[in-house]
Symmetry: C2
Subunit: 334 residues, 2 copies
């Protein structure tokens, strides 16, 4: 008998996610059946894409189910196994419940070597957010030396890696983030040429004109909304927009209109490409080789925020949607 | 001495193009200087892209100059040559003035064989509009058999070819056009599976739901605006949008907002690519081979509207912007 604490979706949010969308409960998972393993979660990743999953949208991942635990990328330890592919003590990564323990059939789980890096890094700079940044930058933005790249959410889990990869490619790299502290870190630690505080600047266009005097050749877009519209207007001929997320829209109840003058796409021969990194798992090996080496050599830095205790996951997630985290947000479950 | 009738840009339009934007005048061009040729225009192509050029926009082609003749793709005959590359009697294609005669240095002109096809075809199904359709369909839309392709302005100079190429690729091909006559032609002659009259249908979304029950995999976009927004909402995963023009925006004085929910681009992993065919002249040979063969074999049909007399070019152009032409619009100059 395993007493498991888990967080379930109590109701779907309408607009802002509120505390009553979640319910913490304690259940007895029972013992693993044949083929199953029992995993104790160590770290849970909180990511913006979870917000659309809370709603019944036609989205790329099925919506979370009501009264069932939410799930998320996690690192955990096998505590009991009736699956020949996993042994007690294995450290694994994959989609687990927002819970202290998950019963799992093992599909989609990957064993990781805990000596390579801190466990939480597998959810950040060596994990999905970083893979997302790498794919979008390398396969869509494709910055050339001397070009200008813009990264919205410059210090987020994805953005911080995207910006550093752009910089390593020799591009002038400009971002925006929420608050002075993040902007200062972006420039000082992540090597951005400039980063502006979107909370303080109301006229994004004017700031972009100053910071990107040669226009913008590639945009790594995580946010959408008014700053995206200002970026869109300033794209250069043959510009590329890697559309990775639109966090500014996730809690909007009235759908937001896109940028004006869609003809700009023709005039400037823009390519706008939406992507989801799970479509590109075949490239995971390339990513691990390239980015792993950059992390090892210290050329790629990563900032994370660790929240202590599963019970804080809901409030931390609500904070994430308000941009309160700094870098990759993970919950230390146990 | 050559008395030339030409049409100059008298003023830049604000909103709808009006007759007073043009002025017809008779000038004496004089004799060709060394290196020049004098060309008598036979056919002048009228195309939507000319509208942005009438305004002082940052666009892909420089704006027309005030009090100078407008220019356009034309077929003409060399009547006098002081350029060793061209002889009297040569039939040439290229950018000429909206005029009975143009003095030209020969750069960018191409000699054509008048026995291959009617002269006006070089401005339509064997020319730039058709090349545009071919490029966008083949290199961006890339329809697979069984997919659904939507073509706005289905019977326009570009759209009619785009739709037929989609159909030849085995796609369900749906379009819209202005008026019953065009829609009937699209289905009967151009082989569209369905074509709806955007002037009669106010609820484009409902019509698209009926005509494209499997959603839309590729959109060849010439128009923009409300129908584009409805198409955008119905794009399938991994959908492609070849953005070729946005005629609905050209005369707008208040910029039009883009489609709502830009996050759709991420959710459905859409690729939206703007293009201008003049960037791809290196592929002109491939186009001529492929499309020339389809025209010759009768697999590709083309409809054109011929307006008789240069003096009618302004009113025909204004009609084009209102969608009054049917197929490729050309002016028979002489």
């Amino acid at each position: 008998m395993t007493d498991t604490v888990q967080i379930v979706l109590a109701r779907r949010p309408a607009g802002d996610v509120t505390a009553d969308c979640f319910r913490e409960e304690t259940v007895d998972l029972g013992a693993p059946a044949e083929g199953q393993i029992l995993i104790r979660s160590r770290y849970l990743s909180l990511d913006p894409y979870m917000r659309p999953r809370m709603t019944e949208l036609r989205s790329y991942t099925p919506p979370f189910e009501l009264d069932k635990p939410l799930t998320g990328g996690s690192v955990g330890e096998v505590v009991e196994s009736r699956n020949p592919k996993f042994a007690k003590g294995d450290v694994v990564m994959g989609m687990l419940n927002w819970a202290t323990h998950t019963l799992h059939d093992g599909r989609g789980l990957r064993r990781i070597d805990p000596s390579v890096a801190p466990l939480s890094a597998h959810l950040g700079v060596l994990g999905m957010p970083s893979f997302t940044a790498w794919y979008g930058m390398k396969h869509i933005c494709k910055p050339n030396a001397g070009e200008t790249v813009f990264v919205s959410a410059a210090t987020g889990a994805v953005g911080q890696v995207a910006g550093q990869l752009a910089k390593l490619a020799g591009a002038r790299t400009v971002g925006c983030a929420g608050g002075e502290e993040k902007c200062a870190w972006a420039v000082r630690e992540a090597g951005y040429d400039a980063c502006f505080d979107h909370k303080a600047e109301r006229d994004a266009g004017a700031v972009l004109d100053t910071l990107c005097p040669q226009g913008i050749d590639a945009d790594f877009e995580n946010v959408g909304g008014r700053i995206f519209h200002a970026v869109f207007e300033r794209m250069n001929n043959f510009g590329r927009i890697a559309f990775c997320g639109a966090i500014s829209e996730y809690q909007d109840q009235t759908p937001m209109a896109g940028p004006t003058k869609m003809f700009t796409i023709v005039q400037r021969r823009l390519t706008i490409q939406g992507f989801i990194v799970s479509d590109h798992v075949a490239l995971m090996g390339d990513f691990v080789n390239e980015v792993g080496a950059l992390v090892k050599s210290g050329q790629l830095k990563a900032r994370e925020t660790v929240v202590d205790g599963l019970g804080k996951a809901p409030s931390a997630f609500m904070g994430l949607l308000r941009g309160e985290n700094f870098g990759k947000l993970v919950v230390k479950v146990a």
